[in-house]
Symmetry: D2
Subunit: 505 residues, 4 copies
């Protein structure tokens, strides 16, 4: 599946992650550079904008702009982001228009101090909350969720202490959210009660880190401590000496997003106690077990299919497609690189005209003929969204001389949209929303096609299905969403609690 950098100007056949968040509290060292490096480590989670907010004990400093981390910050920007405590953000547009008004961290300076807020996720009831707050006189500069959360917490802070203020807001908002927050000079992390989006705690030599993925902690030469728990509020000590935990909300079941492991997260990150790389290899092994086929060669779709293909090929070394132990003199299925990816096809690519289109996939992926010609080929991808790239891939391989092309997919059919913060596609665009596997196979032109089962996903994640968000592959969601069904007992909070600002203030 193509990664998302190019998502807006071309029609890509892949979902795009929404955001990455980070928060750091250090003893004495300026926090700006560690935040900068962390955001680099999380850049794959959002390439549209980047930002850092710090506080030096007296005042807040902020630098947020559109662009990649490397373009947004220069040396002098980092030098003015004073202070040992701060938060950061990289973003993809979720709700809210695609422009600088929505770049984060969102910062607000209000009567009892300042607030900075970084958000990964998506609220289901943001509109009601915004309307209510607007009715009380709040002016919004964007139509994003984040500003709503920030205003709500800020309002609560006018009369509550921090823990109560966040708790009251958590009782009013519904949806997925991993937040890092800067209240004056305090850094806080919050994960939604279902733990939909990842958030973890790490320790560095002179402080503590909150980050969407543990790879950010590695980058700082730190150690992963643990995941933030669903419904937990973590407050980092200002002097970097530790952190306090408050379990503000508790639910019976979690709703971890399995797609983080399948596609979004870095292979070297540990999320909810599983190393993503290992999960992907395990999914590849299951894929062989469930639907392995003996072909001359197995090719990953680079880069996202590589770990799946490697697990698949390894499993094929042990057992045959029939599940029998592989004989000693049979090397199994050869794993090879047969598709060369052009890493420069990027954001500002001018699309080919209609009749050039089929040639255009070769701009991104060029087959290495010697690997393919005259062979039966299995290609392994992590998922299929719209199906257009898969179709082009199959054609490409056949043009390069493949005798047969079999496709194996490391996740179940995606048949419903994501409301939890991922820019996947509309239901109409999803090829699996109204087609059987065989119809999809025909449409993409493969000789055979198999998806992984939902059970294999749960097993590979060492999880119960009820503890995962499987909305996009089942059509049943762990939240109460207008027009969709839910897979558990949930209801939206009623948002009409009178706030500290009366309308007549």
């Amino acid at each position: 599946m193509e990664h998302g950098r190019d998502s807006r100007r071309q029609s890509v056949d892949g979902p795009t992650e929404k955001c990455g968040v980070v928060g750091i509290a250090l003893a004495d060292r300026p926090v700006a550079r560690p935040l900068y490096y962390s955001l680099y480590a999380l850049q794959h989670r959002g390439q549209e904008s980047a930002g850092i907010v710090t506080h030096d004990g007296f005042q807040q400093h902020s630098h947020v702009d559109m662009g990649l981390v490397g373009d947004v910050f220069d040396e002098s920007d980092l030098n003015t982001l004073n202070g040992t405590n701060g938060i950061g953000h990289v973003r993809y547009p979720t709700e809210g228009s695609i422009n600088s008004c929505c770049a984060q961290p969102f910062s607000v300076s209000f009567k009892s101090g300042s607030l900075g807020l970084s958000h990964n996720g998506n609220l289901v009831n943001a509109d009601e909350l915004r309307d209510e707050l607007a009715g009380l006189g709040h002016a919004f500069t964007s139509d994003g969720d984040t500003e709503v959360i920030a205003h709500d917490i800020a309002r609560n802070l006018l009369e509550d202490d921090l823990t109560d203020a966040v708790k009251r807001t958590m009782e009013r908002i519904h949806g997925s959210y991993s937040l890092t927050i800067m209240h004056d000079d305090a850094v806080i992390g919050v994960r939604d009660p279902e733990g939909n989006r990842p958030l973890c705690i790490g320790e560095v030599e002179d402080g503590y880190v909150l980050a969407s993925e543990s790879a950010a902690i590695d980058t700082l030469d730190g150690e992963l401590v643990r995941d933030v728990r669903p419904g937990e509020l973590v407050v980092l000590n200002k002097d970097g000496s530790g952190y306090e935990s408050h379990q503000l909300v508790e639910k019976e079941n979690t709703a971890h997003c399995f797609f983080e492991h399948v596609y979004f997260a870095r292979p070297d990150s540990v999320i909810d106690e599983s190393l993503v790389y290992d999960v992907r290899r395990k999914l590849g092994e299951k894929l062989w077990e469930e639907s392995g086929i003996e072909t001359d060669v197995v090719l990953p779709v680079p880069d996202s299919g590589r770990a799946f293909a490697s697990g698949y090929a390894d499993a094929a070394g042990d057992t045959t497609a029939d599940g029998e132990p592989r004989p000693e003199d049979d090397d199994g299925v050869e794993f090879a690189e047969g598709l060369m990816k052009n890493r420069y096809v990027g954001r500002t690519f001018i699309m080919p005209t209609q009749d050039e289109r089929e040639r255009a996939v070769r701009l991104k992926l060029n087959p290495i003929k010697s690997t393919i010609e005259g062979k039966t080929v299995t290609i392994i991808d992590d998922s299929i969204v719209r199906g257009t790239t898969s179709n082009q891939l199959v054609e490409l391989l056949k043009d390069a001389g493949a005798e047969e092309v079999h496709m194996r997919v490391g996740s179940p059919q995606i048949l419903a949209p994501c409301y939890m913060g991922i820019n996947m596609a509309t239901r109409e665009e999803l090829i699996a929303s109204d087609k059987s596997v065989d119809e999809i196979r025909q449409e993409i032109g493969a000789d055979s096609l198999s998806y992984l089962s939902i059970d294999a996903i749960a097993q590979s994640l060492d999880s119960e299905k009820i503890d995962l968000c499987l909305g996009c592959v089942t059509g049943e969601y762990p939240y109460d969403i207008d027009g969709e069904t839910t897979d558990r007992e949930v209801s939206r909070p009623v948002v009409s609690e009178p706030g500290p600002f009366a309308a007549d203030d």
Copy 2:
């Protein structure tokens, strides 16, 4: 004298004003556009950066950038500057490096709310204050005065109310300052105890305005109420219904900058109760009385000399150069436009090479030969700083066929630098710092040269000399400046009062 837009890239022969400030509180109407138009009206006071800070009752909004008002703001910027109360700023670099870090209003979000601050003027003791505050843990992002004032007020606000907080800061800072301040949603104006820089109050249909010059009030179709008094704090009512006055500090004498009337301010502004245009005409009349000379034609140096020349020529219609009543059949001295100014020679002009230099003045000012050829000419300028432009002008007129060129200057010799917020020149660069009038005349090549007397300045301003800042023309200053003498009894405040933040906080 050339105006300052082009000051940094060329060596201009003219001082540059430092800044313009504005603050507005309206009943219901968004304040962003009125602030924007006010800044346009004050653009002549600073073309390097522009900014607006507003507050909507809940949070502060800010937009500040390098460039002219028209370049800094677009429609959508104004739309996000929510609120009915706000302040604005246009700026020239004073102290502090020439970059975006110093653009204003400076805004700081601290524990008891937010502060926005616009400053016109220059502190004499900013370094001591900065050092003291830095010792208490304050991190500064610039080396400008404004940030020092902002931090000091913010510190005081942690324990004092607004009036006391400003008063304590006024007792600690020494120098010239006209400030507009936004504390949360309150708009405040402060003028230094000597009233060095201008600041006035105006009334519009639905609110009140504080501005460096009354022309900003005219632009909003408002009426000038009065000047802010030296040492006065003015707090605009948040609902635009009026204002409160607090006379925080009182001194026996003022130190109004006479150069505002001579050069900086717009002719259509009223400053300290005098219309600038009228003062300039009066100075022109005095110039005729003191040193008029009968020539065929009187030419203003456009645009700054025009009002002086018009007053000079009018006075010449009534009396001869000898002070006798002019006979009925003698029309006096003809006033004419003889120099065409190129309004496009601007900021990014590439300087001619050395041997092209003398030709280059014609880029800016081209003589209209029919007005000059074969005539005796008087040229009227408002002031002479370095003398280089005057020299080129005289040569230009002689090349165009002037028989004689006499220069008359509407202010006394500038012989010492300004420390009060004007970017004039160093003492070494000032042609009058070590030359007699006749030596200057020789250097600029004029057939005669006369300056206006200091007494004429005081008379035209209806003021006592002791109530003016005459530092640049006398070398004696109304403040206590290292290495300079003072013209009155003043001393710098000792800045070591313990603040609410102890160093060990």
Copy 3:
């Protein structure tokens, strides 16, 4: 009348000039800087784009971009524009869309060398020519006139020498054009057979100059030699030693644009042997003679009305409004500056909302009350196009306390559009297209209103009416324009001569 810098983003009440052209050939000195300074001197003729093309004997160099001269070129650009011969251009959009494709000089590199072309004017038959050339295989990158002229000359050059090539093109094109052309390293000037747009020849120490206005020659410390004659081709010697003249086309009558003298050209330029400043003063004198009125004060609309007002006031010193000699003890009408112009209201100004609009004129022009209050006032403008600014001005003066406001206009009623290269307005927008003088007076709210007569224009320019283009004030044009009448015997050339490129090449 407001000048044009702000023409596109606001609805201005003034025409905008189309372009300025220049060409220079020097003996040894690099030509880039003299071209740069010349363009500065012509900046008032076009602020949308600027460009220079030079040739160093071996190859052509070009730098053309959107923006003001000072923004388009930096030192290193000038340093790469090698060669002693070159041409330049500043531009306003005429025909062709407003973008960089149409910035000039237009340069084309074709089989028999290179061509650079700068154009001021507007062709009437460009579309036919473009269609014909396109039919022969020419690819156009813009829809501007200039590219059509360049392609046509280039085609002719494949078989003719330069003089014949230009002559053949002149026989095919119809309309107004002053051109400077660079053919390889030769600089050429061409003026259309009616001499509609200005073009003159100047001599500098080490070479010769062609320029739209003589002020550009002054800037280079050169001397005006003479105007280029209508229908003349001037070829500058490559070594700067002189020039050759070829009278390629001759017509009985010229069609000089009188509006150059009234509004566009700089006061210090000499066009068709008249100094613009003197013409404007003469027009002001005629205005007094034709419709003078005795009021307390006469105010120019700055800056364009100043020379008119000065001539008007001077004439009023000699005779009364009744044409009688003025008595000795009557000083006549006082000339004063009563309107302060804000020079910063520029290109990117955000328009006031509808209800702020009437206040907005004060952003541009603020009255100086002491000059106006309680007085009868005459305001002098050079022309009225749409009438909206005039209306606002009258209101402004009345608000400032004027007892009566009389308006005198230094040109006849503009009642028809310009097709000759000026961006005036559509016929519907012209207030005089369907209103009598008294109706206009009522609409603008003046106590009286008078325009200057057409005869006065011809007299002040020492010209016959038949030698002027008076299309905008008579509705009869000196060219054959679809849907309009002509004031003389003209017809469009038929453009179907077979060129050297047959369609089947």
Copy 4:
């Protein structure tokens, strides 16, 4: 080895390729888009600037700018690049300063038409040629080689036909060059007599293509025809119907750059008849044969080491490190992905401070602990230049728990600089220039280190050593370079032939 995008702002441990060139002639279709896609395919050869020059039969069109292909061109740029024939270029700075003056294609418009030129390579005698041409009056706008070649060919074209003109220039220039040239509307390809840089011919449906690498031809859905021969001039037919070949210069031996196969070229390109991917796998196999070591796991340095490591691991499946056939029940060495590459660490990355430096490598490469911990590890890289990255890598793996770290390198020691167009490093910076393999091993901290032999390179390329340029690994060059020794009989041409422009022209 790290790829070059980030080469200038960080100290990278890798050489950077200089340029990619392309030329296309089509029957009827506009050539701009095919050029654009070709440049995308060659983007890895240069990310500093990009450009396209086309000719529509009448005139030349050009668009060249700093930046990546995707940033340099937008839809409207492509639409104005008219014509069916054109050339393109992507570039890294070689000689000549790093700025836009040196972006290519270089285009020159001179008296007998226009020339566009794209160059990959580096001349050894450019300075002499430039001096000679400057003496004849040529003005250069850059200090790059390309302009020298362009001027020399253009001079020759004033009297010779194209073939002779190029031949005369080839006899005067000395060094490496693959050129695509546009002379008026003819597209030409030239490869230096030693064939140092690659250049190949491809056929598409409606035309012919010249390109640095065959991957560009694949992108256009074309077929590789053959490599351009050393010393050959290829002229594409203007109508896309074929091409003419002229063998202008012949030498006994070639000097192909072996580093194209080792590092620069895309794996999916065929260069001098070898598929790069296959060569790299073969080099990996040789590496196992020459210095294989039995460890738990083999890791590629991504991405450049991947094909080497795959060949290495495959060879290890057949034979043991001792060269014995591997027993059936021994799976050999496990190939795994153990290092996660961050693809976003790019051009504008802010370097860590000194004490953060060792942590910083983790920004680029993060180990996947489960693959490494407690294991003996072999890492495979393509080459070692400075050695700093290798050192960091070894440390990284040991920190991640590797028991032993052995390094195997797919090329010989780089001990001398490249003068043929690659930005490698100075001799002083090359770790192998003055250190033995064991000293290098100690410096990088590996448990063992082996390089590949020079013989293995020649064998894998099916070539004789004398037909390769081995300068960087032997210190003996196939050209006559000041201060270096040569490995064959060569001498520089004397450049003093009188050209068609005498100095007194």
